[in-house]
C-alpha cells in the first residue's frame, strides 16, 4: 500500500473528516518511485482504471478500501513515464468514463479530455510553456482552390515574429495542423524554439482534413493537393527558400502516414520528414490486424517497405513505447536506414497522444531544422 495511504489507515479505517483532510493535502495519483497509486472517492459497484497502454490490461480494478468511500489500485510505472487515464464507474449496471476528480492535470484531444499521470521524474518541458521573452509569431488563414480535391481548402499559416518579405524562409507542412496548435501547444513551441535560436524562423502551413481517415490513408489526391495545389500557392505568395533541405512535412498517427506517403509520391520535394507515432500498419504475410480503415495504409506500407523509392534527406521518427504502434515504428526504422537516409528515432515512455507528440517537438524540429544557434556567438 502507498505509504501515504498506509499512514491514513494506520489506526484502522479513517473518519470522513480525516479522509477530507488527506485529499485536500495530497496530489493524485500518488507517486512513490515506480509505484503509482490511483485513488477514487465515491460510491460505486465497481471502479476500473482505464489507461490505453499496450501490454497493460485495458481495465484494472480498483479495490474498495474498507470502511471508507475510497478506492485504490497501484501499478508499476517506470520513472519518466507519462500516461493518460480515466476511471470507469459501474453504478446500477451503468458504465461511465470520468476524468479523475482528484487530479487537476488534464490532457485534451479531439475526443475530449483525459487525466494525466506524471510518473516519477517526468516534467513537462519548459520550452513547451510560453516564454514571456519570446515574441509571438502570427497566424493567418488562406483559402486555397484545390484541383486535386475539387474544392476549396482552408490552411493556417504560421509566420514567425519579425517576419520580413525581403528574407526567405524554410517551410514546414503540418498534417492535423489545427490539432497541433490546440493540443500540442505548437505555436508556443515554435515561438520559443525560434526565440532560443534552436530552430530558424520558418513558415508553417497547418493543414487540416475533414476526412482524415481517408485523405491521410496514403491517398494520391492528398499528395497531389500538397505538391500541386499547396506548395505552388505558398511559393507564389510567401518568401520561401527553394531547396529540398528547406522543405519539410510532418504528422502524427495517420498524419504521419500522409507525410510519408506524400514525400514518397513526390521524390525530391521534401528533404525533412517528422513522423510521430505513425500508423504504419503493414503485413509481412497475410492480412494486417488493424481493421479495414487501415487497408489502404497497409497496401502503401507494404509497397514502401519493399521499395522506399527515392525518399531522401533527414527523417525524425518518434513513438511512445506504450503504444501498440511501437512495433510498426521500430520495424520501419531499418528500412529507412538501409536507404542511406539520415534517421533519428526517439522512443518515449508515453502513449498515443498529443502531449507525447508535443514533448518530442524540440528534438525533432531542432534536428531537422538546426537553428542559427550554431551561427550565433553572443
Amino acid at each position: 500500500m502507498n505509504p501515504a495511504l498506509r499512514k491514513l489507515f494506520r489506526k484502522g479505517p479513517p473518519a470522513p473528516g480525516d479522509v477530507d483532510a488527506f485529499i485536500a493535502a495530497t496530489e493524485f495519483p500518488l507517486v512513490d518511485g515506480s509505484d503509482v497509486t490511483f485513488v477514487w472517492r465515491g460510491r460505486a459497484e465497481q471502479v476500473f482504471l482505464r489507461c490505453w497502454i499496450s501490454g497493460f490490461d485495458t481495465a484494472q480494478p480498483l479495490q474498495s478500501l474498507t470502511g471508507t468511500d475510497l478506492w485504490a489500485t497501484t501499478i508499476d510505472l517506470p520513472p519518466g513515464s507519462r500516461i493518460e487515464y480515466k476511471f470507469e464507474l459501474i453504478t446500477a449496471g451503468q458504465r461511465r468514463l470520468v476524468v479523475d476528480p482528484l487530479n487537476p492535470v488534464l490532457a485534451h484531444d479531439p475526443f475530449g479530455a483525459n487525466s494525466v499521470c506524471q510518473g516519477s521524474g517526468y516534467q513537462r518541458p519548459s520550452w513547451s510553456v510560453h516564454d514571456p521573452e519570446a515574441r509571438r509569431g502570427g497566424l493567418e488563414t488562406i483559402r486555397l482552390d484545390s484541383r486535386a480535391f475539387g474544392d476549396t481548402r482552408e490552411v493556417g499559416i504560421y509566420l514567425p515574429a519579425r517576419f520580413r518579405r525581403n528574407r526567405r524562409y524554410p517551410l514546414l507542412v503540418v498534417h492535423d495542423g489545427n490539432d497541433y496548435l490546440r493540443y500540442a501547444d505548437f505555436r508556443t513551441v515554435l515561438d520559443n524554439l525560434i526565440h532560443y535560436l534552436e530552430i530558424p524562423q520558418l513558415i508553417v502551413a497547418l493543414t487540416q482534413s475533414q476526412d482524415r481517415l481517408r485523405e491521410y490513408a496514403a491517398d494520391d489526391s492528398h499528395a497531389a493537393f500538397v505538391a500541386d495545389d499547396l506548395l505552388p500557392y505558398l511559393a507564389a505568395n510567401y518568401p520561401l527558400l527553394d531547396d529540398r533541405a528547406s522543405r519539410g512535412i510532418m504528422g502524427a498517427s495517420f498524419g504521419a502516414v500522409a507525410a510519408l506517403h506524400t514525400a514518397w509520391r513526390t521524390p525530391g520535394l521534401f528533404g525533412c520528414l517528422l513522423l510521430q507515432s505513425g500508423s504504419f500498419a503493414f503485413s509481412d504475410i497475410g492480412r494486417h490486424n488493424r481493421g479495414p480503415v487501415f487497408d489502404p495504409v497497409a497496401r502503401f506500407m507494404n509497397s514502401f517497405r519493399e521499395d522506399p523509392g527515392a525518399l531522401s534527406g533527414k527523417v525524425y521518427m518518434s513513438c511512445g513505447i506504450y503504444e501498440s504502434l511501437i512495433y510498426e515504428n521500430r520495424s520501419l526504422l531499418p528500412k529507412l536506414q538501409v536507404q542511406g537516409l539520415d534517421v533519428r528515432f526517439e522512443e518515449a515512455r508515453d502513449a498515443h497522444n498529443w502531449e507525447n507528440w508535443r514533448d518530442r517537438l524540440r528534438s525533432g524540429l531542432s534536428w531537422l531544422y538546426p537553428g542559427p544557434l550554431w551561427m550565433v556567438y553572443e
Binding site: 525581403n166 534552436e198 528534438s363 534536428w367 538546426p370 550554431w374 551561427m375 550565433v376 556567438y377 553572443e378
Partner: protein
C-alpha cells in the same frame, strides 16, 4: 601606427568592454560600432556605449545592406544565388565531414603499438585537413565569382553607403564589433569592404566579432539541443588576426573535458592556435604580437587547455 586588436569573450555575464579598452590604452575619442551580427537589433547599442564609456557611432551595416538589396533587385538576386550555393556547398561538406571526422576520432581513440597506430592517426588528421582545405578553396571560388561579376560602381546606393561609411571611419581610431550571427556579420563586412578599411584601425571585438577577425572561421557547438555537431570550417574571416581560430564561450559550447575531441580540434587546425574566449576573457594584440592574455586559453595538441603564450 601599431594597431591594437582587443578580443573579448561574451559580454554577459561579465561586461569587461570598458575596462579592456581603458587597460589597452586606446586613444580617446568616439568609437565606431558594427553591430550587424545583431541583425534587426543592430540599432540597440546603448549598452555598448555605456559599457565602452565612449561616444559611439553606429555604422548600421545591416540596415544599409537591407536598403541596398531593396533598391537593387539584380544585386539581391546574385547575392541570394551566391548564398544558396554557399549553403549547398556547406551541406555537402558537412556530409563528407561527418564520416571523415568519425574516422579521425575513432583512430585517435585506437590503442596498440604506437608504431602502427601513430602513422594512421596522422594520416586520418591529414585527410581531415585536406577536406577543410578543399572546402575553403571552394568557398573562396564562389566568393571570387561573385566579386568578379560585381562592380560596386554600378550600384549607386551601395556606392553612396560605402562613401558614408568611409567618412564615418575617417573620424575614428577605434572600431568595436559586437557578437551575434557570425555569417550575417561577415557578409555585411565583406559587402562594405570593411576588411580593407579596418586594417589601419584599432579593433575591439567580442564573440562573433572576434571570430570575424581571424583568417578562418570555425563554427562549433557541442551542446546544441540536436546533439553534438562536428566543428565546421565556415570560411575566411577578415584576416586581421592571423594564425588564430577564435572559440567564444567555450565553457558552454565545447565539451572541454573530452581530451580526444579537443586534441583533434587542435591538430586539425594547426599551426593556427585555437583560442577560447569565455566571458571575462581578454586577448590583446599589438600588431601580430599577443601582449596580454587574461582568462583566454589555447587548446594544446594533447587536448588540454593551457594559458595563451605571449609573443
Amino acid at each position: 601606427m601599431t594597431t591594437i586588436r582587443l578580443l573579448l569573450g561574451p559580454q554577459r555575464p561579465v561586461v569587461n568592454l570598458g575596462d579592456a579598452i581603458a587597460h589597452a590604452g586606446l586613444p580617446a575619442g568616439p568609437v565606431a560600432v558594427i553591430a550587424a551580427g545583431w541583425q534587426e537589433a543592430e540599432g540597440d547599442i546603448d549598452d555598448v556605449a555605456a559599457a565602452a564609456r565612449r561616444e559611439v557611432i553606429n555604422l548600421h551595416l545591416y540596415r544599409r545592406a537591407d536598403e541596398v538589396f531593396a533598391a537593387d533587385p539584380e544585386l539581391l538576386q546574385r547575392y541570394r544565388l551566391r548564398q544558396d550555393r554557399l549553403q549547398a556547398l556547406q551541406r555537402l561538406y558537412g556530409l563528407r565531414l561527418r564520416h571523415t571526422m568519425a574516422a579521425a576520432r575513432e583512430t585517435l581513440r585506437a590503442d596498440g603499438d604506437t608504431a602502427l597506430v601513430d602513422p594512421e592517426q596522422r594520416h586520418a588528421i591529414a585527410q581531415l585537413r585536406a577536406l577543410d582545405r578543399h572546402h575553403l578553396q571552394r568557398v573562396q571560388t564562389l566568393h571570387a565569382e561573385f566579386d568578379a561579376a560585381f562592380d560596386s560602381a554600378r550600384h549607386d546606393l551601395l556606392s553612396r553607403h560605402q562613401a558614408e561609411i568611409d567618412a564615418l571611419l575617417a573620424n575614428v581610431d577605434t572600431v568595436v564589433i559586437t557578437g551575434g550571427n557570425v555569417a550575417v556579420l561577415l557578409n555585411r563586412l565583406y559587402l562594405f569592404n570593411l576588411g580593407q578599411l579596418l586594417t589601419e584601425k584599432h579593433v575591439v571585438a567580442w564573440s562573433a566579432g572576434a571570430m570575424a577577425l581571424s583568417e578562418q572561421v570555425v563554427l562549433f557547438h557541442d551542446n546544441a539541443p540536436q546533439g553534438r555537431r562536428n566543428p565546421e570550417l565556415f570560411g575566411r574571416g577578415l584576416g586581421l588576426l592571423p594564425h588564430h581560430i577564435v572559440l567564444p564561450d567555450a565553457r558552454h559550447r565545447l565539451r572541454v573535458k573530452d581530451r580526444i575531441r579537443l586534441a583533434l580540434f587542435s591538430r586539425r587546425f594547426a599551426p593556427a592556435v585555437c583560442v577560447t574566449l569565455d566571458s571575462g576573457s581578454v586577448l590583446t594584440l599589438e600588431g601580430p604580437r599577443i601582449v596580454h592574455a587574461s582568462l583566454a586559453k589555447q587548446i594544446a595538441a594533447s587536448g588540454r587547455l593551457r594559458r595563451v603564450r605571449l609573443k
